[in-house]
Amino acid sequence: MFNLEEQISEWRKQMLAAGIKSPVPLEELEIHLRDEIERQIKSGLNEQKAFEISVQQIGPSKALGSEFKKGERTFMKQTIAMLLALPGTVLGGGMILPALGQWRDRGVLHLGPLLVGITLAIIAGCAVIHGVKTYRGAQGRKLISVFLIAAGSFYVVPLLQAFFISKVDLTGWFFCAGLAVTSILFYGGCLYRIWHSPAPAS
């Protein structure tokens, strides 16, 4: 004897095994399945036939599971990009700013830390650009905005503070000001991009 509820429960198990999460999106898929079964029954089919056709129409569990996972993979890539950007920004800034400070105060330019810092900052910049290009949804937009403001201020605020509390050395400040302006343009540009254009295609 065919039992519709038992069959739906079995179908749910298959979907869960394919990696489709509950309650969302599994619940939504089940509602769709029930709507279709109802329509098929109204058109004259018995419960068993209506169930079989509806399951076929909704698609195989493995294919559905892999489609849902595609979206999750993109989100993971974006999160990894942001996680790379964070230490890159902090370490990069942590090497560039003291190197510039020493050059300003003592006239000694330590190229090693400066170059490593710039490389890290460039890697962080690339990760930020990737994050901005692939951000997803309002939550992603807010998260990246907070990151951009924090990262930008990491370069800009100490320079502004130092500018107002120490003597002005035009040679050193020329580069510091350049770094600050570049940071403002880069992080500001990223902010403008994510708030004034639609989310990118996935």
Binding site: E28, L29, I31, E36, G59, L64, K70, A199, S202
Partner: protein, 110 residues
């Protein structure tokens, strides 16, 4: 029957254009597309949901849970501002493709 690559490519503009007429839910969207295309645009029903979820994450559409007249729970989707912009862009691009194709077709009959 329309090729699956074209069906996949047209999913987003069609969903956005349908939602521009008012909020709707997955099952109704599928039925509407089938009816409007005389059944020629056939989606595997379940494949609509990953597309809807991706569009929701990208901020093109928003969703809310509600109840139908029959008391069944439903997830209703509606268009957001970014979705309207994306829809206008889709219309522009698909119109361009259509006009190029139509022009070429016309020339081939001359």
């Amino acid at each position: 029957m329309i090729r699956k690559e074209l069906v996949a490519a047209s999913a987003e503009p069609l969903i956005l254009s349908l939602l521009a007429q008012g909020e709707s839910y997955g099952y109704a969207i599928i039925q509407e597309i089938k009816a409007r295309s005389d059944g020629k645009l056939q989606w595997t029903d379940g494949m609509l949901y990953p597309v809807l979820h991706r569009m929701e994450h990208r901020g093109l559409i928003k969703a809310r849970w509600g109840e139908s007249e029959t008391g069944r729970k439903r997830k209703y989707y509606s268009l957001k501002k970014d979705g309207k912009t994306a829809m206008a862009k889709h219309h522009e691009q698909w119109s361009l493709v259509h006009s190029v194709l139509a022009g070429l077709k016309k020339e081939s009959y001359v």
